[in-house]
């Protein structure tokens, strides 16, 4: 019988074997004892494993398409490269982006691809390996008084926050967290202290902490900046969480394309280890293999366990039965990075940093703005304030997506809505991951929606029918609508949209399927002319 560890290393063993080529699954089965069909099923689930022949992938996310990603893909193919499109690479601020093996090459110019010919290694060969990816961030100041993450602050290896938390004791840490009002930054906005207390109160004493660094929501790239610029905060935050909930093992799951952020995180862990700062806590790094759905917490746990990344049914929730069935605390990178500040300066300090919600928030802005990037601002700023920080609009605002593809589209007249959890939910949208995409009036909204629907179709795990069938159905219907000449069957093409959207929201297992129709339904509501 294969052990838990044998199974867990299957995805990375497939990666090491160069992906799911014929014979690989059978050979790995002999080594690990994991059934060969199971290994094949796992390999076929993840795009970075299932298409070993692909040399480069060109992001076809909305922000990259706005910047000419389609032409870039075409150019790569014309150069003789085995090139495929792929979904959001978390480089929306530096579009268009290309992926070579596990390395993201942002802001790529057509001539760079053409000049390299059929040799993928020749594309931007001279670039410095480690800092090709950090982007624009703001406010451009080191301001620990007002910025909970403080992306431009100096790295701090002192372990002071961890030491402080240890001297306070877990109960006081929980209280501080509750007072801080910290809500999860991964998308759902769940109050952090409830999960911490939930894990800490389990009878089972084997518990885990997981860092969710699978950042894949289109328009979102803030976790990338946190990992690149403040890995110290991430590792110390994880140590604080582990000690408070009684865990000794911390698993960090980074999307496979985060080769460079991985190096930053690994470096920070090594540094803290060398200084012996977090005794008794072990950190494990795991690479994703190309599946947006593995950002969903239970799918992530399935993937960590070496399975196909299909979300689990909830309840039970991870706080009770998470990784390997044990109580598990899982948090987004940004949530974790808020912790050292909260511990050192207190929950009240953090809460008051926000405006309509608690704390500062990392907003990602891309699309039609002057300086796309990651901006740490009080939770609840408006779109106009955010874009002002990002150098202003580059065209007349038509629409924006406040929190990634899953949040749908809002029209320009919602520019005064506070970008927070509550106000956006009241608009039928959500803050989600705060991946704000700005679209000016040049954009055909039906075209923009089509890209988002392609994203969900490509990234649905396929487990449950409403999402598996619904994402494809909607995409096919919108294609039919766009292909039809005005009047001839255009209306009928979208006849089932409302019912399918209802079914996807009511019937799907996880948030992907529940939200996947929103780009279309919100655009139909706010931009009816685009579908006339």
């Amino acid at each position: 019988m294969p052990s838990q560890e044998d199974r867990a290393r299957v995805p990375e063993a497939l990666e090491a074997a160069g992906g799911l080529r014929p014979g690989v699954a059978r050979a790995l089965a002999r080594q690990t004892g994991v059934p060969e069909a199971e290994i094949y099923g796992v390999g076929s689930f993840f795009h970075l494993l299932s298409e070993p022949e692909v040399e480069v992938r060109v992001c076809q996310g909305l922000s990259c398409r706005l910047a000419g990603a389609e032409a870039l893909l075409e150019a790569a193919r014309e150069s003789g490269l085995k090139a495929e499109g792929c979904q959001c690479l978390a480089a929306c601020d530096q579009p268009p982006a290309l992926l070579r093996r596990r390395r993201v090459l942002p802001a790529l110019r057509l001539d760079e691809v053409r000049g390299a010919g059929a040799d993928p290694g020749a594309i931007r060969a001279a670039a410095a390996p480690d800092d090709v990816w950090a982007g624009q961030v703001g406010p451009e100041a080191d301001d620990p008084e007002h910025l909970a993450i403080n992306l431009l602050g100096p790295l701090d290896w002192s372990g002071a926050a961890f030491a402080r938390a240890a001297s306070m004791g877990a109960a006081a840490v929980f209280d501080g967290l509750e007072r801080s009002g910290l809500q999860g930054r991964g998308g759902a906005g769940f109050p952090a202290h409830i999960k911490w207390r939930g894990v800490a109160s389990q009878a089972e004493t084997e518990r885990y902490v997981i860092l969710n660094a699978d950042e894949g929501e289109p328009g979102t790239f803030k976790d990338r900046e946190v990992l690149l610029r403040r890995p110290d905060r991430v590792v110390e935050g994880l140590a604080i969480a582990a000690a408070a909930v009684g865990a000794t093992q911390v698993y960090c799951y980074l999307r496979g394309e985060f080769e460079i952020p991985w190096q930053a995180l690994e470096g920070a862990i090594t540094r803290f280890d060398a200084e012996g700062r977090f005794p008794g806590i072990a950190f494990h790094l795991h690479a994703g293999q190309g599946a947006y759905i593995c950002g969903e917490e239970t799918a992530l746990m399935e993937a960590l366990e070496g399975g196909r990344g299909m979300p689990r049914l909830k309840p039970p929730f991870p706080t009770e039965k998470g990784l390997w069935g044990k109580p598990t605390l899982i948090h987004n990178v940004e949530t974790i990075a808020c912790l050292p500040g909260i511990v050192l300066r207190g929950g009240d300090w953090f809460r008051e940093l926000g405006r309509t919600g608690a704390g500062t928030k990392l907003y990602c802005v891309s699309g039609h703005v002057a300086r796309p990037g990651v901006y740490e601002l009080p939770l609840g700023v408006t779109l106009d304030e955010l874009v002002e920080t990002a150098g202003g609009y580059t065209g007349r605002l038509q629409a924006f997506s406040p929190g990634g593809a899953s949040s749908g589209f809002l029209p320009a007249d919602k520019r005064d809505v506070p970008l927070d959890f509550k106000a956006l939910a009241a608009e039928g949208s959500m803050l989600g991951s705060a991946g704000v995409v700005v679209l000016d009036e040049s954009v055909d909204m039906a075209w923009a929606v089509a890209q988002q629907l392609r994203f969900f179709e490509a990234e649905s795990c396929g487990q449950c029918a409403p999402c598996r069938i619904g994402t494809r159905f909607l995409r096919e219907r919108l294609d039919a609508h766009r292909a039809a000449v005005a009047g001839a069957g255009r209306g009928e093409a979208l006849a089932q949209v409302a019912e399918v959207a209802w079914q996807m929201n009511e019937g799907s297992i996880c948030g992907l399927g529940q939200a996947a129709a929103l780009p279309l339904t919100s655009a139909l509501e706010h931009f009816p002319d685009a579908f006339a």
């Binding site: 029918a465 019937g507 297992i509």
Partner: protein, 364 residues
């Protein structure tokens, strides 16, 4: 004594045992909740979403098959919301399914069509392009996988894994391309598959189907007569249903496939092995002996009556005993005989022919 725990289903108070699911409680009470991915032998997947019910205090509908019953739970399994859900879900399944009601039953009845009919789901939604990959080149003799009908419920793969402990097949790909595959899409014959056919038995749509009835254009399953019998390949005593085309063999009837009784109803719990499920073509095989044969003076076998044949056998055996002694005789019975038949063979050996030389092939 603890008090029996109760919940309500559509206002009716029902007792339940700890560990039961909402679906199990409803089924025991005779309330029908539709299911597709559920098989009582398997851990619940909750994936097909057919069985969603409302539970008081829960914002989202919950899968009855995967939700543990708890005390005081107030469950609704018939409501406007649930009806709307069943209709639109089944309409989506239909949009992703081949057209036509009757043709689909060659392999087995297709529960997607049955449930769509039952809940009057719209049938006029545009059909989608089917992009699931099958294994058209798999030349195994028994199992056909028709990817167009597959609803990715994973009953087949979970059965193969959890019941057979073979894991020859897997969910593969993802999203709308999710399908059922073997390692590297090899033929089942080149995998660990034991050809038990359980994947066919559990498949709710006929996507995993038996090749022989399909290739011989057998009638739809609902026109076949089922006759319950005991498998005689080994001593386990599995119950099985001969599926007989009443008009086959010139009106004498013809066994066109074998199915297992529903799980939970017989000792074999819905399972069979390769022999029980597939090795029935001997029934109508041209080489099969249908009357006793006796060797004539010319040395050739000739058809004979049973009394003639038994008479000859008895003479021969007694002749050997007379010439060479009783222990010159030995009796070997077949593992395909029943326990009673085996008993009679040893009785005959000992009491009639007076020898203890008696054996049964399954003993080796």
């Amino acid at each position: 004594m603890t008090q029996p725990q109760t919940l309500t289903l559509n206002g009716r108070e029902l007792a339940f045992a700890p560990g039961e699911t909402v679906l199990e409680v409803a089924q025991r009470a005779g309330s029908f909740i539709p299911t597709l991915c559920h098989d009582p032998r398997l851990a619940p997947a909750g994936a097909c979403r057919t069985c969603l019910v409302e539970i008081e205090g829960w914002r989202r509908m919950a899968p009855a098959c995967a939700t543990p019953a708890t005390a005081g739970m107030a469950i609704t399994s018939e409501s406007g919301r649930i009806d709307r859900h069943r209709k639109s879900l089944m309409a989506l399944y239909l949009a992703d399914h081949p057209e036509g009601f009757v043709g689909s039953e060659l392999g087995a009845p297709d529960q997607v069509y049955q449930l769509a009919e039952r809940y009057a789901a719209p049938t006029d939604w545009p059909r989608m392009d089917n992009i699931r990959a099958g294994r058209p080149l798999d030349e195994n003799p028994y199992i056909l996988f028709d990817a167009t009908k597959c609803i990715a419920c994973a009953r087949c793969t979970r059965y193969c894994d959890e019941v057979e402990a073979v894991t020859a097949i897997t969910l593969a790909g993802r999203g709308s391309q999710t399908t059922i595959a073997t390692v590297d899409n090899l033929s089942l014959l080149d995998t660990t598959c034991e050809m038990c056919g359980g994947c066919i038995d559990t498949c709710p749509t006929g996507a995993m189907a038996e090749k022989i009835p399909l290739l011989t254009a057998a009638r739809p399953e609902r026109e076949l007569t089922k006759v319950r019998t005991t498998c005689n390949y080994c001593g386990v005593g599995c119950q099985m249903d001969l599926n007989i085309d009443p008009e086959g063999n010139g009106g004498r009837g013809k066994v066109v496939k074998i199915t297992s009784p529903a799980p939970g109803t017989t000792t074999n719990d819905g399972n069979l092995c390769v022999k029980g499920r597939f090795a029935y073509d001997f029934i109508d095989h041209e080489d099969r002996l249908t009357t006793p044969l006796v060797r004539g003076a010319d040395g050739q076998l000739q058809p004979a009556s049973w009394s003639e044949a038994l008479q000859r056998a008895a003479e021969g055996l007694l002749g050997v005993a007379e010439r060479h002694g009783k222990d010159a005789l030995g009796f070997i019975s077949s593992s395909r005989c029943t326990v009673e038949e085996n008993y009679l063979v040893q009785k005959m050996a000992r009491a009639v022919f007076g020898t203890n030389h008696v054996h049964q092939c399954a003993a080796t």
